[in-house]
């Protein structure tokens, strides 16, 4: 093939052994997918991988920073059934939607032993280009932000100086009441 295969780990947390492509659910979830990176001279880069259902799915990154989501046809894996142009903020929102639940599931797994504590992903809409410290979340609700998912990438343990952006998802750990209050603050409901 023209492209090279790059193993791409999805999720954070304890790393699985690199030689295994999948781990059973009893262990913490770390799946390795072989992402094929193919340069498209004059256009950009194609990164894609085969999914279990048989299709290829991936992203074309244009040199000017645009993205295109591509899905191959079912009957002809060489051809694309759809190529959907995405603006940068749309791409990062989609990535957040897909990436955050994974992270939340992992954290939930880890916190299972501690009673009364849950993990939830909360959209941050009221703090664009403001620091995490500005939310004063810990003081006001007792819940803490353990990670921020942006463009599908998790930023673990963000400090108080961490700057939020539109489309960010905060992964918050706390009591049920604390999480409700946190959701209100992060979306601007609680000021």
């Amino acid at each position: 093939m023209l492209g090279e295969r790059v193993p791409h780990r999805i999720g954070v947390g304890p790393r699985g052994r690199p030689d295994r492509t999948e781990t059973d659910l009893s262990e913490c979830k770390v799946a390795v997918v072989n992402v094929e990176v193919t340069p498209l001279p004059g256009i950009g880069t194609r990164q894609d991988f085969a999914i279990r259902a048989g299709r290829r799915i991936g992203v074309i990154t244009y040199r000017d920073g645009k993205f295109e989501l591509i899905v191959s046809k079912q009957d002809d894996p060489d051809a694309t059934a759809a190529s959907i142009p995405l603006a940068p903020e749309e791409a990062s929102t989609l990535a957040g939607l897909l990436g955050a639940p994974q992270l939340v599931a992992q954290l939930r797994e880890q916190h299972r032993e501690v009673g009364g504590i849950t993990t939830r992903q909360l959209p941050v809409t009221a703090f664009a280009s403001r620091a995490l410290g500005d939310t004063a979340l810990r003081t006001r609700t007792g819940a803490s932000i353990v990670a921020v998912v942006r463009a599908g990438v998790a930023h673990p343990s963000p400090g108080p100086e961490f700057l939020f952006d539109n489309g960010d998802l905060a992964v918050v750990v706390g009591t049920a009441a604390g999480l409700d209050a946190a959701a209100e603050i992060l979306t601007g409901g609680g000021g």
Binding site: P39, P41, G42, I60, I70
Partner: protein, 392 residues
């Protein structure tokens, strides 16, 4: 008085081109064939002869060639070129042999001699990377598995141009064998130096022309492009190749910004280039060569499809993808005209060459996108028929 007439003529030409471009967009074809037709309609033997703006249009068309090649170079980074070359050279050589041969043979049969054969070989060899890239984007095929194959064949062709154009320029200038070899030597040396410089010190070249101010950036870019093109031309290495190499040496974000800034200028001057080529061709010379042009079109469509088929097969692409890769490569356009333009301007080739090249590009620039679009339905028919036969 003279200026007023010249302005009116130029205005009419540009406005007419604008209308033609709009028609092309609406029909969904490349504007190049329509620009050529526009040029044929004016000028020598055409409906409306133009007077007094020849000097400007001539220079404008030269700038058009420089900008075409500069932007082509800007599209590629040096590392893309070197890895592309390593991966696709076999397909590239097959492409060269299969597609240069029909043009050379036709020229030979027409009695145009070795110089004419060399020029026609170039005309039928090189696909239009502009049309191909646009068609692949429009049809949503950039994510297809055969697309990198198509693109790497185009990369090879563009690099081959960097060697071919100096050779052609030297031969057309009527230099001796030694002089020709010197030109090839200089251009090969220049390509090597540029690739090495661009790979290792590309950011210095970029920094030299870069500027946060658009106006300064544009002037420095255009200035350096014309300087390099002029010096290359003085060294008999062809102005176009100089511009192409400069484009490769400029890289990264500078290249992106330069592309964005120069695109409108390129479109303007390149349109002028096609018109001037059409202007200098007498429409009356086209009908006699039309038969040959159609024959060449048929043969070189098949040879390009064969090239794409083979190249895609080597990369493990299925039959339908192979057919798509082949059909995508069919379009010829701007570079065939650049080559024919060089040949005709030198006066060393038969004047019929301009007519044949025009007719050929008119056919191929229209046929290419159509072939790319309808290869899938045609393939489906074949597949179904084969399945039915297997069932019977």
């Amino acid at each position: 008085m003279h200026t007023a007439v010249a302005l009116i003529q130029l205005g009419a030409v540009f406005f007419g081109l604008g209308l033609l471009g709009r028609v092309a967009r609406r029909v969904g074809i490349s504007p190049i064939p329509l620009y050529l037709l526009g040029g044929l309609a004016f000028g020598s033997g055409g409906l409306v002869p133009l007077h007094g703006i020849e000097e400007f249009t001539h220079l404008a068309s030269e700038i058009g060639v420089v900008l075409l090649l500069l932007l082509l170079g800007l599209e590629y980074s040096a590392s893309e070129l070197t890895t592309g070359l390593k991966k696709s050279w076999m397909a590239g050589v097959l492409d060269l042999v299969l597609n240069a041969a029909p043009g050379a043979i036709a020229a030979y049969l027409l009695g145009w001699g070795p110089v004419g054969a060399l020029a026609m070989a170039g005309v039928t060899y090189i696909s239009s990377s502009g049309i191909v890239a646009k068609v692949l984007g429009d049809l949503g095929r950039l994510g297809n598995r055969e697309t990198p194959v198509v693109l790497s064949v185009l990369v090879f062709e563009d690099l081959a141009m960097a060697v071919y154009l100096p050779v052609l320029t030297a031969v057309l200038a009527g230099v001796s064998l030694l002089g020709g070899l010197t030109a090839v030597g200089i251009s090969l040396l220049a390509i090597t130096v540029v690739l090495v410089v661009a790979l290792k010190y590309g950011r210095f070249v970029s920094a030299l022309v870069d500027s946060p101010d658009h106006e300064v950036f544009l002037l420095k870019l255009l200035g350096s492009a014309l300087l390099v093109a002029g010096i290359a031309s003085q060294l008999q290495v062809s102005a176009a190749v100089g511009a192409f190499l400069l484009g490769i040496a400029i890289s990264g974000s500078t290249a992106e910004n330069a592309t964005r800034l120069l695109e409108p200028l390129r479109d303007l001057f390149a349109a002028m280039f096609f018109v001037v080529f059409g202007l200098n061709t007498d429409p009356a010379t086209i009908p006699p060569v039309l038969g040959i042009a159609v024959a060449l079109a048929v043969v070189t469509t098949l040879t390009k499809v064969g090239t794409g088929w083979w190249a895609a097969k080597r990369q493990g692409v299925g039959p339908m993808g192979r057919a798509r890769a082949g059909a995508a490569l069919v379009a010829r356009g701007e570079f065939s005209i650049v080559i024919a333009g060089l040949a005709v301007a030198s006066g060393r080739v038969d004047a019929e060459l301009a007519a044949l090249a025009t007719a050929y590009v008119l056919l191929m620039a229209v046929l290419g996108p159509i072939a790319a679009k309808y290869v899938e339905p045609i393939g489906e028919v074949f597949k179904r028929r084969r399945r039915r036969r297997a069932a019977a």
